[in-house]
């Protein structure tokens, strides 16, 4: 009983929010191009779904995010593992890593677009860059936190390096790794949008900009809602991964 009630609570809160939004539009009398009503946004959503443009642009952004995440997470975990294992490598690379974080990715996004063109590659790279650091840091922290006693145990059993990695280090650092992925997944949406806002011919960021230029504010709302949906789904996927891989943890 209690569980089903609290589930409805979330939905209830959303309905109240939409009603409140509608009420503000009606009472303030703001023109549609400043603040569209929920109904305006809804019809715009249906229209863009019907002509296929919304799904097309969403799929472009999703592709950029997926590739960006894949590249960023792969590089970050591999490099993070190496950094965790070698203090000298950490000393050599840390000035670059810290410096790269001091420069906001948003600031170098235009540069990346100039260098890599306004196609999908520049967005994937921006996305990967923004995802890279939190995942890297969490990988290092996770691998370093593996209890030394478990290394002893594995070594007394004459485990190979590969076995130590796959049977000890990877599962032991999984909680911290997934926490990094959770941050990275949300950031990856920002990365893709920043890239698209700088210069693009497709994607949700492009849709946002077109809506903005044409005073099609309902379209901007639709694009934002899709972005939120994307971010939430990614977050949901990470939560599923946590449920799958961390079921041994106390909940």
């Amino acid at each position: 009983m209690k569980i089903s009630f609290s589930r409805w609570l979330g939905l209830f809160s959303i309905i109240i929010g939409i009603l409140g939004w509608g009420l503000i539009v009606r009472l303030s009398g703001l023109p549609r191009f400043i603040l569209p009503s929920p109904l305006d946004v809804w019809t715009r959503l249906l229209r863009s779904l019907a002509d296929g443009s919304l799904l097309y642009h969403t799929s472009v952004t999703l592709l950029e995010i997926t590739l960006g995440l894949l590249v960023g997470v792969t590089l970050a975990t591999v490099l993070g593992y190496m950094l965790a294992k070698s203090h000298s490598l950490e000393k050599i690379l840390s000035p670059y890593l810290v410096a790269s974080q001091a420069v906001p990715v948003v600031a170098i996004a235009p540069l990346l677009v100039i260098w890599l063109g306004h196609g999908i590659i520049s967005k994937v790279v921006i996305c990967a860059l923004i995802v890279f650091f939190p995942v890297l840091v969490n990988t290092v922290v996770g691998v370093r936190a593996v209890p030394p006693a478990l290394y002893d145990m594995m070594n007394s059993l004459r485990a190979s390096r590969w076995q130590v990695m796959t049977k000890l280090e990877v599962p032991a650092s999984m909680p911290v790794l997934l926490a990094g992925l959770r941050i990275g997944a949300t950031l990856s949406v920002i990365g893709a949008i920043v890239g698209e806002l700088v210069d693009a011919k497709e994607g949700l960021g492009y849709l946002l900009k077109v809506g903005d230029f044409q005073y099609d504010t309902s379209m901007v709302f639709v694009a934002v809602i899709m972005l939120v949906a994307l971010a939430l789904s990614l977050y949901g996927i990470v939560t599923l991964l946590e449920k799958r891989f961390l079921k041994w943890q106390n909940k």
Binding site: D152, N155, S156, R158, K167, L168, P171, M174, W248
Partner: protein, 248 residues
């Protein structure tokens, strides 16, 4: 007639490098271990007991001296630590069969052997539990099962019951005694408990304060199987007093 020793340690010394000339952990340790012996090193903290076990386990190289196993081969080691040191992401069953996985045994065979071990240490019904759900004593039973499953040549016990409460600890002595009798393993244990060493071992070697040296060797000629009552016999008391006298 005793069997030839499977392990011979000669003039073993360990020095850990530090700022003032090095820390002497162990000095001139020599002893022999025969198959199916239960040997116990007794000593105060800081006598290098754990260092000795780490050398025997191959986790640490001695500064000087020799550690020779029979036929010069690398022995299979089973190790039990002060804490159970289970992998929290593995169930009881999966923790126990880890050594077999590392040896590349196929899954179904490993499960059968692990099930045997579960029964040996009395954990039936807990196969699918997570380590966090176990009490200290149960976790240590899993640790013992894991150390035995791959049929090691040498079982090394590093104060395995030190973290347990007194009553659980005494129960585990009886358990370990029973398991040792079933499995016929060669065991080397370190501890700082006189009662524990007398209850379990055939041979007790007393180590001095750092640098650890063997000060006294006591043959424990108490009959087996040993039970709780044996601790209240005069002979047990005599041996205990002898050991107590040797520990500074």
């Amino acid at each position: 007639m005793k069997n030839p020793p499977i392990l011979t340690v000669k003039n073993l010394s360990v020095v850990f490098p530090d700022s003032n000339g090095g820390l002497h952990a162990l000095e001139n340790i020599s002893f022999e271990v025969c198959p199916r012996d239960f040997i116990c090193f007794l000593g105060p903290s800081g006598s290098g007991k754990t260092t000795l076990l780490r050398i025997l386990a191959g986790l640490l190289k001695p500064t000087s001296g020799q550690v020779d196993f029979i036929h010069n081969q690398q022995p299979k080691i089973g190790m039990v630590f002060q804490q159970a040191h289970l992998m929290p992401w593995r169930s009881v069953m999966d923790n126990i069969k880890l050594p077999l996985e590392l040896e590349g045994m196929d899954e179904s065979q490993a499960r059968i052997k692990a099930q045997e071990m579960v029964e040996l240490v009395g954990l039936n019904g807990f196969e699918d539990s997570w380590p966090r759900e176990l009490s200290g004593g149960m976790a240590q039973r899993v640790g013992i099962a894991r150390a035995l499953i791959h049929d090691p040549d040498l079982l090394l016990l590093d104060e395995p019951f030190a973290s347990l409460d007194a009553i659980t600890r005494e129960r585990m002595w009886v358990e370990l005694s029973r398991i040792w009798q079933v499995k016929q393993k060669t065991i080397i244990m370190v501890t700082h408990s006189i009662n524990e060493s007398l209850f379990l071992a055939d041979d007790v070697l007393v180590l001095t304060q750092r640098p650890g040296q063997i000060k006294l060797e006591v043959k424990v000629d108490l009959p087996r199987p040993r039970n709780d009552d044996i601790r209240y016999t005069p002979h047990f008391g005599k041996l205990a007093r002898k050991l107590r006298g040797a520990i500074e």
